[in-house]
Symmetry: C2
Subunit: 446 residues, 2 copies
């Protein structure tokens, strides 16, 4: 029988760093990664396949990261775990013994209870190369596309499918704005505008009632009575933990349906860890269960799980939620709680905002307005969240904000932050938005 | 007699935030800013006047930041301080009473003891519009230019003067590489290469012995015997605190020649504060005097000084030193100590490095290799410094590193950092360089 000290189930944003971290922390242990996909898609890159990147085969995680780190891998589906014997069984009938097991089985797209969702040319966002090639084929020659869901996946799909393609794209979102989980309302209005500027018809505050058609989808009927003629539908309304294997093995799940884990990422079986989309999450801020599922969180959890396999070394502090998305020339980025969510969670908040060009002087090439909004807890002055609207640099600026959040920095701390600036890369030291937003909030808290 | 509660002397990267911070923290107090320049240059933008920006008049700090914040300003030179009476006198004979005084008189370019430096067409980097217009005129029609000094100012001047101008540019640096104060040797080699790729002849490890010519400069003679024919010389070898006014007023200076200040930025006179290039500096790491002079440090110090005028509110933790520079398509950015400097200061260090594309997949537009090098203190695992070589995002990524340094984060802390990533903006969560560099160092310290 095949054996490995560590077996990792899953080969994406959680599985890979879990395996590499295990190798780094326990170099004397053998690590075997088992995944069911022949080729692994870069999950965050999936929408870009349909525009900027052009094909699924260009959006793959190369296997050399495993090879370079001395990790064996096997393409096969794990179907059973014998926790007593510490063995897994695969679809092809192989039995593999383990000392420690890491479940990184990811998530599955949520299929909404909409009548007609099973019609032909209705797609969810499955992380499978052949499935997405099917979607690509369906888009060929399509005149109309409806995207259901105005979260990150939805807006990215809508904007990317519109690129270099003569198709009429309509995005339907239930909430009053796109990206409402990440941004406060005034910024969401800018998001809606930018999605529309990408050539997408944005229908917000609209509920999909039925997907209509014979075999193939023909129209999408909204609760408001509108009928959207379409050739293809893409549903991107979120993902749920893939816990099939864990459930079958009798592992505990949490209230939100993820695999129950402690702060070491250990499941209810002391020899089994879980990380990434399949694992339960809790909020960094409130300690309450969280539904945030991001590749970046998956990777961070995996680095915790991998380090803890044979000895407790790292603790999960809870999910912050940091993400960015470019829409046209504007990048939207956020970390932590919005003002609205902070208040919903019982915080009294103080907000600081600052806007100025992201170059100095403002005539430097690439200059664009960059705005930072910071949300602080009034009681402690600690940073709870930040939102950025700007150019490309917003993608890393939000990570400065994330560092400030993780370190529980106060408005005062950030007001005297020592940042680097450069005419061609950032705002001037006088106008640096992060610091000025903090100073404004610090002033309001005095 | 004119009077103001707060008088700020100097109108640039320290003076402006000192004044605006004073207004924010003490809104009931009047603030008057006195500066000698009719127009204030953006200091970091000065090299860009000669290439990308095109003229000094496009590189000015607008006065509306003062007006919007209710700060009165006066263009005049302060010539005397009567500390007993709390009055300043200006060149035009005006006497102005103050309650608190902030000195933000900046720095003056260092003029090296090179014979011939006073010849015509030899320029230092004076922050004066008419002076720089003189340099611009001298460059018109020049066939050859020699830049002395391979620090930030020198490499920026060399690269910018070469842009859109048919001139043969030679840079002369005493040390073995350009930018040796900010980067370790292997990165400095890349810097030298990129400066050369901008069309600049790079002469490192060369000492200038004499600037030769009748009235005008004709050649620059090096200690190695080389003679560089030239029409114009620009000297950019650093700046020294401008303490003329402070000295005349009998304020204490520190050993390095800056105005002596405590951690509140207060001078030896309890009613006078100093900040920016004119003020003494100490290292965040060692507490020893530091010669780092940057607009970003000036602004941070000014935000401390302005907040402390009437009540002690903020403390200076010492200069970290964070800066970035683009050369061609490559951005070099650094924060804190290099490995070499850390060792020189008695630290035993552990280095972690990671390199991968700054996009995912690597075929996304704008993709380029991005490398992060982190330097940790082996004894405590605390981050001491970081160096980044990459694309535009390096300019803010170095601020993530700065936040980690300011918060004394360890390799372990950074290895589980929750960053945001996006295909079009950053590395993948698996390959994110900052985290992987920290993980490598954490592994080496186990």
């Amino acid at each position: 029988m095949k054996e490995a000290d560590v077996v990792v189930v899953g080969g994406s944003a959680a599985g890979i760093p879990a395996a590499t971290t295990a190798r780094k922390h326990y170099p004397e242990r053998s690590v075997l990664l088992v995944r069911k996909e022949e080729q692994v898609l870069i999950p965050c890159g999936i929408p870009y396949i349909f525009g900027t990147v052009g094909s699924a085969s260009k959006n793959l995680i190369p296997d050399d990261v495993l090879e370079k780190n001395g990790i064996e891998f096997l393409v096969d589906e794990v179907t059973d775990i014998d926790r007593q014997k510490r063995e897994i069984t695969t679809a092809s009938g192989e039995e593999i013994g383990y000392d420690k097991l890491v479940l990184a089985t990811g998530s599955l797209p949520i299929v909404p209870p909409i009548p007609g969702f099973d019609k032909e040319n209705v797609f969810v966002v499955n992380k499978s190369v052949p499935y997405l090639q099917g979607l690509m084929g369906a888009l060929d020659g399509a005149s109309d596309l409806v995207v259901i869901g105005g979260g990150y996946i939805g807006v990215e799909f809508a904007a990317e499918c519109r690129k270099n393609r003569d198709v009429n794209v309509t995005l339907v979102e239930l909430l009053p704005h796109c990206l409402m989980l990440g941004y406060d309302q005034e910024i969401c209005s800018v998001v809606d505008h930018e999605v529309a500027a990408c050539g997408v018809n944005v229908f917000t505050g609209e509920k999909v009632e039925e997907i209509v058609g014979d075999e193939k989808v023909e129209t999408v009927r909204l609760a408001s009575g509108k009928e959207l003629k379409t050739d293809v539908v893409i549903i991107g309304i979120g993902a749920a933990a893939n816990t099939k294997l864990a459930k079958k093995a009798g592992l505990d799940l949490d209230a939100a349906g993820g695999i129950k884990v402690d702060r070491a990422m250990k499941t209810s079986d002391e020899n089994i860890f879980a990380c990434g989309d399949c694992a339960g999450k809790f909020s960094f801020f409130t300690g309450k269960p969280s539904n945030i599922r991001l590749a970046s969180i998956a990777a961070a959890e995996a680095r915790i799980a991998g380090a803890n396999l044979f000895e407790s070394r790292r603790q999960n502090v809870g999910a912050i939620g940091v993400y960015a998305v470019p829409l046209g020339d504007t990048v939207f980025a956020c970390a932590g709680l919005t003002d609205k969510d902070a208040q919903k969670n019982g915080y009294e908040t103080v907000v600081g905002e600052a806007e100025s060009p992201n170059r100095h002087p403002g005539c430097m090439p690439g200059a664009a307005a960059l705005k930072v909004k910071l949300v602080f807890d009034k009681a402690t002055s600690v940073l709870l969240g930040g939102q950025v609207v700007g150019g490309e640099s917003a993608g890393e600026l939000v990570n400065v904000i994330s560092a400030c959040i993780q370190q529980k920095m106060t408005a005062e701390d950030i007001a005297v932050f020592q940042m680097g600036t450069h005419p061609a890369l950032t705002a001037s030291p006088i106008a640096y938005q992060l610091v000025n937003a903090a100073e404004t909030a610090a002033g309001a808290m005095m």
